[in-house]
């Protein structure tokens, strides 16, 4: 047998060398993977082993100043799936869709998505969650979840705002305090094998979520209710586009209430409350819908500015008194026309019946334009602008709500013309936000301190410990205590004897000022569109509240602030003061009147509308039916206030009736020429037509023309022979 040669042996040794090199190479490679890249690979591996389930932190509760819950988080369940772990997607989808009442294909699509986790359905109720748990489906997980809930629905919605589906604040304090409300989410970390089963190693970890902080608002739920109710009533009564009411505590700048109607329900922020609108919106393209949403979410008192009209005269008066250019007893003369301003024909609102000789106090009571133009002129542009700025106009108030506007004021004294100075003196040619105005008025009321409006009082934790307190902040001192006192007294007389009579509250000393302004749309005064407003301060001897009521585009005939906004503010003042336990101080005469005025609402349910009306009118009550198509023999099915409630005489009782819809909505417009205002109102109301008036006296023209066929609820514009401001 042959034996191995030297060459064979050499080759064997060569082979050993080659192999050794290979082995060395592989060992180095191994070391590189395990040691150099080890950590990196380990991290990635860890990621695939661990199933990190976020545990949501509970969003903080929003309380009113008295501890009433306005926004809470409620526990619900959310269904997730891990598509990779689902064994039989079709069958699973069928079961899941069945329990969750969803479309099977939609579920299947989710179960087969190429994602590690997919949300199947949010916020399911407990029964469904239990039913699903029972099925014990692989890859389907039911996780505890929280949902934002606003127990009062469309209550204070513009203050609270709302959150999106992931509970991130979008509007209102939900947005501005989102950081505090959110908290820190926890995590539930478990390790799992490639099939999703838990690994037998004990390295499961649970990090507790840190719940969000609770917010205590300055809002008082009860006062907010008063404001909301008053706003809604004013909206309906005046067929207005919008009504906003703000109640502020002058000393602190605390907002006690801020209501706007119409509003929305933050539980369903994308659905209008009005059924008709809902249907309309549903037909709109998406981008149009979004536009509508944004409009709906606009918080008028903060997001919009308007021309304040006569309410602004308070500022002029404050400036005049502070600068000493006028005293309460200064004499003025109103001849109806302001001739001192060059290049403009300005007139007093009662030019047809001038105020004649009057003191400054009388001038304020009469809201006489001539007086304020004179005061403005005495102040001069520089000083006027100083006070406009001093009272915070033209700058943001700094309220903790979204989208605040700063209004429009003259850029500088030099840019102001004489006519600007004159019109600004009585509140025209300037744009303010309601929040600016109420803050300025509060400064007048509290002795001259311009406050920063406060909406959030403090942040508290789960155990009620105060984490952060927001103190009232004085922005600056605008006028002296003395000026404040003097002006308050003057304003009181406006309510007791002047244009603000309707805001008079028996037993309380209320000061206030009316305002009526034509709306400015696209830089021009819009025909027949007004903003009626009223500011009130009460009680003037020790101001507890300042109230601003703004009625946007009233269309029920009346549009004077003194006639429609003053009673609204008055009602809020009265209810709020009695709620705040401010002792009324009645005069003997008032006491008698009060008892006389009180009426118990009778039960008129199940009576015909004719009968009900008769009963209510006999008691001195007014009534109203919400629907327009009613007949005299329609049956009342419900009423508000309920029987037994004590109300004032002249109060409005809402009646709800069963309605029969008319076959045809076609209405022939009648001839209104020569008729009085009252007559016109009667006729048009009977025909279920909306109307818009201009002027006083006898009707002279109308659109549409008599004989025109219009739809039910169409708008008829009527002009009267006496047109004034």
């Amino acid at each position: 047998m042959p034996s191995p040669t030297i060459s064979t042996k050499k080759r064997l040794i060569a082979m050993l060398l080659i192999v050794s090199i290979f082995v060395l190479g592989l060992t180095i490679r191994l070391g590189y993977i395990q040691i150099v890249k080890g950590e990196e690979l380990k991290k990635e591996a860890l990621e695939q082993w661990t199933r990190d389930i976020p545990v949501k932190a509970k969003r903080g509760t929003i309380y009113d100043r008295k501890g009433k819950k306005l926004a809470i988080s409620i526990s619900t369940n959310t269904v997730w799936c891990r598509p990779a772990d689902i064994e039989n997607p079709k069958e699973t989808a069928k079961i899941v869709a069945n329990i969750l009442e969803m479309d099977e294909n939609e579920v299947l699509e989710k179960l087969t998505k190429k994602q590690s986790v997919v949300r199947v359905k949010m916020w399911i109720d407990k029964e469904k969650a239990d039913a699903l748990r029972k099925e014990n489906l692989k890859g389907i997980e039911i996780v505890d979840d929280n949902k934002r809930y606003y127990p009062f629905g469309n209550f204070a919605s513009y203050i609270l705002g709302h959150t999106n589906i992931d509970q991130v604040g979008q509007y209102g304090v939900e947005k501005t305090y989102n950081k505090y409300l959110t908290g820190t989410p926890g995590r539930w970390i478990k390790t799992a094998d490639a099939v999703g089963r838990q690994l037998p190693y004990e390295n499961e970890k649970f990090y507790e979520p840190e719940n969000g902080l609770n917010l205590v608002l300055t809002i008082d739920e009860t006062i907010q209710h008063f404001a909301e109710k008053a706003a809604l009533e004013a909206l309906v009564k005046n067929k207005a586009k919008k009504v906003s009411i703000i109640v502020m505590e002058p000393k602190t700048g605390d907002i006690l209430a801020m209501a706007s109607k119409p509003d929305y329900d933050p539980n369903n922020p994308r659905e209008p409350l009005n059924e008709k609108l809902k249907e309309e919106w549903a037909k709109l393209p998406v981008n149009e819908q979004i536009k509508k949403w944004y409009d709906m979410w606009r918080n008028f008192p903060i997001n919009d500015s308007y021309e304040p009209g006569s309410t602004f005269k308070i500022i002029t008066a404050a400036a005049g008194l502070e600068e000493g250019v006028v005293t309460p007893t200064s004499q003025f003369y109103c001849d109806g026309f302001i001739t001192s301003v060059e290049g403009a024909r300005l007139k007093c609102w009662r030019y047809y019946n001038p105020h004649g000789s009057e003191t400054f106090v009388e001038g304020v009571q009469n809201s006489c334009n001539e007086v304020f133009v004179a005061v403005g002129q005495r102040l001069g542009k520089e000083n006027m602008l100083k006070y406009i700025k001093g009272f915070g106009f033209g700058e943001k108030t700094g309220i903790d709500l979204t989208g605040e506007q700063s209004g429009i004021i003259p850029r500088s004294a030099d840019s102001m013309r004489e006519v600007n100075l004159a019109t600004i003196s009585y509140g025209q040619g300037i744009a303010v936000t309601p929040i600016q105005l109420i803050t300025a008025i509060s400064a007048v009321a509290n002795g001259g301190k311009l406050m920063e409006p406060r909406i959030v009082k403090e942040l508290i934790d789960q155990d009620g410990n105060i984490i952060e307190k927001f103190k009232p902040e004085v922005r600056r001192k605008v006028i002296s205590e003395e000026t404040s006192k003097t002006l308050l007294k003057i304003l009181e007389t406006v309510v007791s004897t002047g244009t603000g009579k309707k805001a008079y509250v028996p037993g309380y000393r209320v000061g206030g000022k009316t305002g009526t302004a034509q709306k400015v749309i696209n830089g021009r005064y819009a025909d027949g569109k007004y903003i009626a407003s009223f500011v009130a301060i009460a009680p003037v001897n020790d101001p507890k509240i300042a109230v601003l009521a703004v009625i946007d585009e009233p269309s029920n005939g009346e549009y004077y602030g003194g006639r429609i906004a003053a009673p609204v503010a008055g009602q809020v003042v009265k209810e709020t003061l009695s709620y705040l336990d401010v002792e009324p101080q009645f005069t003997e005469e008032e006491k008698e009147k009060f008892n006389e005025k009180n009426v118990v609402v009778p039960d008129v349910r199940n009576k015909t509308l004719r009968e009900a009306g008769r009963i209510l009118l006999r008691l001195g009550l007014d009534y109203n039916t919400e629907t327009l198509n009613v007949e005299k023999d329609s049956v009342v099915i419900d009423q508000f206030p309920l029987p037994g409630t004590k109300v004032n005489k002249d109060s409005l009782v809402e009646l709800y009736v069963k309605t029969k819809r008319k076959e045809s909505n076609e209405i022939v417009v009648p001839n209104l020429t020569g008729k009085s205002r009252q007559e016109v109102i009667k006729i048009l109301n009977k025909l279920n037509l909306r109307f818009n008036f201009k002027g006083e006296g006898k009707a002279v023209s109308q659109t549409p023309k008599p004989g025109t066929k219009v739809d039910f609820n169409a708008l008829v514009k009527v002009e009267f022979d006496r047109i004034d401001q």
Binding site: M1, P2, S3, P4, T5, S7, T8, K9, R11, L12, I13, M15, L16, V19, S20, F22, V23, G25, L26, T27, R29, L30, G31, I33, Q34, I35, K37, G38, E39, E40, L41, K42, E44, A45, L46, Q48, W49, T191, D193, A194, V195, R197, L199, Y201
Partner: protein, 367 residues
């Protein structure tokens, strides 16, 4: 014949240690699959233990079975291998995971390709011993050798098992190299081999995908790169000292059949770099002793047989480690002695038995 000496003790210890590590690692890595799928966590352990024990007997048998008898029996052995290869296509052949590579013997299954590897080595060594003087002759030596290599590879290739076929091919070429083939002819063959492998890769879609994935496994993590990425995760999370015996996470269905073609990554995960290097050293010991035995063997057949067996172990363990460390495209090669597999274990233990037997007839140890 000369007097028998004691066999190579180092080789035997290294082998037994590897088999021992294999039993433990097969148990550890197979437990999840055995537990969840077969409802018996010890399923693979029991079989591996049984075959290891049987393997020790087989090793001892061949240690005492004089190797030159294999020279005489070589033709018969090779014929047996051919028969086994074709038995797969009879009803006895069983399919597993879509590949028909096993023969069902009723009580157990048998993987002919494992036997063919050793059978071919024995036959080739015997053939080259006979054609000793013709090896430098292209017509008389090289061509017939190539035919034998080709035929042997085809026996395995018909089972659609390219990687085993390549392993065997490389082993037989290594024998040819030791036997003294001219180097330029070897390089030519090497080139032809590479071309052949390339052709094989391009002809099959899944091979092509794996080949592409090799360059950036993380890019194909969810598809063809999955196994390699999981293997790297295992090695990486093992670090220097490992997660500890039995504490692999990757064996929980992240790495498919972790007791088989990827057992080395589980070793890396549980025992770390230290464990891996230990295993590598044990293999290096076996390779070193194997080559030493070949060097000191007193006849050509013993020399070629010993180098063939050593080559087989070398090629297979290097490919396994290369695949696991993503140094080569993914392919299914079990780690000799360690991976689960009865036939493989018995064949490798026989091979070591043969080596040990040869070692008993080596010339005096000079060291």
């Amino acid at each position: 014949m000369a007097k028998k000496k004691a066999s190579d003790f180092t080789l035997m210890i290294a082998t037994i240690l590897l088999v021992f590590i294999g039993i433990i690692m097969v148990f550890s890595s197979s437990y999840p699959e055995a537990y969840y799928k077969l409802k018996d966590g010890y399923y693979f352990l029991k079989r591996q233990l049984m075959y290891s024990l049987l393997g020790v007997f087989v090793m001892i048998f061949f240690m005492n079975f004089d190797y030159w008898r294999l020279n005489k029996l070589s033709k018969l052995i090779y014929l047996g291998c051919i028969v086994l290869a074709f038995l797969i296509f009879t009803p006895l052949g069983t399919e597993y995971h879509g590949a028909r590579r096993w023969i069902n013997l009723g009580f157990t299954t048998f993987q002919p390709s494992e036997a063919i590897k050793l059978g071919s080595i024995i036959y080739f060594a015997s053939y080259l011993t006979k054609k000793d003087r013709d090896i430098k002759n292209f017509k008389k030596g090289v061509i017939p050798s190539l035919i034998i290599i080709g035929f042997s590879c085809i026996l395995i290739l018909i089972q659609r098992d390219l990687s085993t076929s390549v392993t065997l091919g490389a082993t037989l070429v290594a024998i040819l190299f030791i036997a003294g083939i001219k180097l330029w002819q070897l390089f030519l063959m090497g080139a032809a081999g590479v071309a052949g492998i390339a052709a094989a890769i391009f002809s099959e879609k899944y091979r092509m995908e794996r080949f592409i994935a090799f360059f950036d496994p993380f890019k194909y993590k969810d598809t063809v790169g999955w196994q390699v990425v999981q293997s790297l995760y295992a090695l990486g999370s093992g670090g220097i000292f490992g997660l500890g015996l039995g504490k692999s996470r990757q064996k929980f269905f992240y790495i498919p059949e972790p007791y088989n073609d990827f057992i080395f990554s589980i070793i890396g995960e549980e025992l770390g770099f230290v464990g891996c290097v230990t295993v590598i050293i044990l293999f290096l010991l076996i390779i070193w002793r194997g080559i030493r035995i070949a060097l000191n063997s007193r006849d050509l057949f013993a020399c070629l047989l010993a180098s063939g067996i050593t080559s087989l172990i070398t090629v297979q363990s290097l490919i396994h480690i290369a695949v696991v460390t993503s140094s080569a495209p993914t392919t299914g090669i079990p780690l000799p002695f360690v991976s689960y597999g009865g036939t493989a274990l018995l064949v490798f233990m026989s091979a070591i038995g043969i080596l040990l037997n040869i070692s008993r007839y080596t010339e005096l140890d000079r060291s």
